[in-house]
Amino acid sequence: MAEPGCTGGAFADTLPAMASTRFLGIDLGTTNSAAALFDGDQVQLVRTSAGGTLTPSIVRLDARGGVTVGARARRFLESDPKNTRGEFKRLMGTEHTVAFPAAKVKKTPTELSALVLASIRKDVEDQFGFVPTRAVITVPALFELPQSSATSEAARLAGFEKVELLQEPVASAIAAGWNVAEADARPWLVYDLGGGTFDVSLLETQDGLLRVVGHDGDNFLGGRDFDAAIVAHVLDALRGQGFEIDPADPDHATGLRRLRHLAEEAKIELSRAENTVITLPEAFQLPEGPVDVDVDVSRDDLVARVTPLIDRSIAVCMRLLADHGVKPGELGKIVMVGGPTVIPSLRERVGQALVAPFAQGLDPMTLVAQGAALFAASAGLSADVVASAPAAGVRLWLQYPTMTSDLAPFVAGKVLDLIGGKPAVDAVRVERASVPEGAGNGWESAWEMVEPDGSFLVNLDLRPRGSTQFRVRAVRNLPKEDKVEPVAVTPAEFTIVHGVTLQDPPLSRTVGIARADDLVHVYFPRGAPLPIRRSFALTVVETLQAGHATQSLRVPIVQGEFQKAHLCRLVGTLEIEAVLLKQNLPVGAEVEVALEMDRGGRLTAQAKLPGGQVFDEVAQLVAPQLTPEAMVDLASAVRVRLARAQAHAVRLLDARAITAGNDAERLLNEVGGLLRLAKGGDDDAAEKARRCIIEADGEVATVEASAAWPEMAEELQRVEDRTRGWVARYGSESERQALDDAIRRAHAALEARREAEVCRLQDVMEQLATSAWSRSPGAWQRSFAWLRARMSEVRDLRAAEAAVKRGEEARAKGDDAALEKACHELANLMSVSPADRRQAFGSGVR
């Protein structure tokens, strides 16, 4: 429970010390960053010292250690590219560092992002006269946990005391839906093509409540790829002139960086003009001498190069629509976000494919920041804490939404001061305070009595589409009307804004624990609201001796949609070191593992052992780094599997699998080029290659699964047959109905080739049947006999023998509950496959 004085979730706390109504939102972009401030009525963009609304995400460190950020740093991109760096957002959450030779330092992407955030913080101070300590910062929807964690850390380094993270498309949606009277109930799309990532979200707005129906995206698609396409055009032109520039040559890295910067400018220019020229004297040094770049680029050249990229983004949009049963033409509108979306050919192609109008009057470059500021208001995260002068009066603690779509919300309150052990007021009333006192303002609530515990609840009435200020009145002795005594209270006023609001921001990727059998134990499913906390008891698969110097138990935390752990991304590991144990941890012991994620996307993990000892050190959340050579081997292994799986898919004429196979091939084909760039020192290319391989691996798994569909259909039928029997005989009426429903849905999922859903529903069926089975006469006796016959497979013979003894005693007494417990103990002592365990990141639990 939140204590008085703490800001709780989406509610404002009104104690005398906290009265700010300024809310800051920051879009920390790959190419440019922006910020906006919402004061309860209007959203204002934060201006930079140069007078613009965009802060280029570029940092320069000079030989004296001086730091330059933003537009001023950008000027040095051409003249001093080695000490002027940008586009580090895509490296967030990795171990990559960026070297600044003049200053002789290396900075992590987190530290560089912190410098950009600090610059924005200064801009807020200069423009609005206060230093913000709290903000909402946006991240791409498909950012992984290490990347989100790095963003929060960057904010902390920049001086922010508290930040919440919000997905960029959600921020855009809030800004786009904020002041529009929504009569259109059709779903709508946010198409967010930023510098480094592509996000698409499907949303609906009903009754002022914004709901994210689904997300999709491509972590490797952004404006930077459009720039790279123009660079490729230039390199092809140079090749035609007889100059071969090798992207893998470190000597060409600087020239290529300068060229990318010019390519970006050319891309922007071609939105307005039909032709442009890229000119860069002595761009490269070849053995035969310096090479000048002087290459024409037409809009048609650009269109030819970027059309495949645009089509990739459209394919992602179509996939999202198909996943949610929406057809092109059924959308109400498309909101375009991000600089590259102003490219005319992109708009034309996307509009034609999705058959929907574009939302008008929205700035694609700052929409995300505006939405973040609005979300900060609905989350009650004011940009600063203002100490106001202590006021006289009985103290109240009020809880109310700072922004809501409900025109009749509640304010809940508690009287903090007591007289004679009772609340110091008997009743409260709230009235609109927007007009001078006594003038009459059209609305006041009824008198609400204060409960014995001091709490009260008042129903309010808001003015639509704006802010409403309220005044609180309180009295004593209300039942005795002749002795009613008005009482001053503090705070006496509060403000609520009416506007579109968002339910809790959803988690974009499933988070779970990798089990030793290579299955994922899901904790937070995709779409779960934040914050969220879950705890499950897991069993240990190997004994840990207390005090042992080298033994440890790993609890790997993974993120992803696959049931198999090794196909998901490892995002952290909770490690239980034997040397720190107070007592042995035997195989089969239960460990309570809790995961918690806050609205900032920060993940904490805790393991509670038998005996009460607690471990909560999570190994650094950093995406693993692989050498280019290791990635070549990995990619080759994936190719071999792909070839085998594709043969099956073609034989079965499985369209979905064939598409997945094509996607895998495309990704693997990209890896070759990326690895060449990586060898040339391009860290971004190395990271992209790593992710391409992982995504390709996932696509190959989909293709492989297709070969298993006939078997999956047979397995489903087997499960149906055996579960129907048990539930029919021993299940309750509700279990029978639930089983019928699960079977019907499982067959529909099988028909639609939704593997994860089929597996999930089979699991539900088996849970229902297990429960029914457990009521059958002799159930636990049968199970006990079967487990006892497998004693040769146990990992801890002594523990197993003890469990058998307990089981036999229970059986002799007819104690089914104790016998069931013994069966579970024996089951937990059975071995797991070492190969499965290795694949599951060495997990020591299940």
């Binding site: 509640f410 879950r534 089979q762």
Partner: protein, 109 residues
């Protein structure tokens, strides 16, 4: 919510009927969250199937999540029908079935 906890019956948690509109669901949820924040005694418990249960912020948020999603709202009826026979983690069904050797016993027809 830890392993072994009963499934969330959102209508009971929020004290709304299955016919409640979205706004009514939101209003009920936000009211309860505010009351729980200040520790109002009247919000701490609710009745479900004749039993008194403790209401927490997590439970209210979980109930709101279920009722905000159209598919989950329909499934809330199914959750209310099915008994919490063996509440457990995803995958528990498969794991139990195999681990306890149920699959090795002939199904009763």
């Amino acid at each position: 919510m830890s392993a072994g906890a009963p499934p969330v019956h959102p209508f009971a948690v929020l004290v709304v009927t299955p016919e409640a509109t979205r706004i009514e669901v939101e209003r009920a949820g936000q009211r309860l969250l505010a009351q729980l924040e200040i520790g109002a005694a009247s919000a701490l418990h609710y009745r479900d199937g004749g039993e008194e249960r403790t209401r927490t912020v997590d439970l209210v948020r979980a109930a709101l999540t279920i009722l905000r999603d159209p598919d989950q709202r329909l499934a809330a009826e199914l959750v209310a029908l099915a008994d919490p026979v063996r509440p457990g983690a995803p995958g528990a069904g498969v794991a139990l079935w195999d681990a306890l050797g149920i699959g090795n016993a002939r199904p009763v027809r």
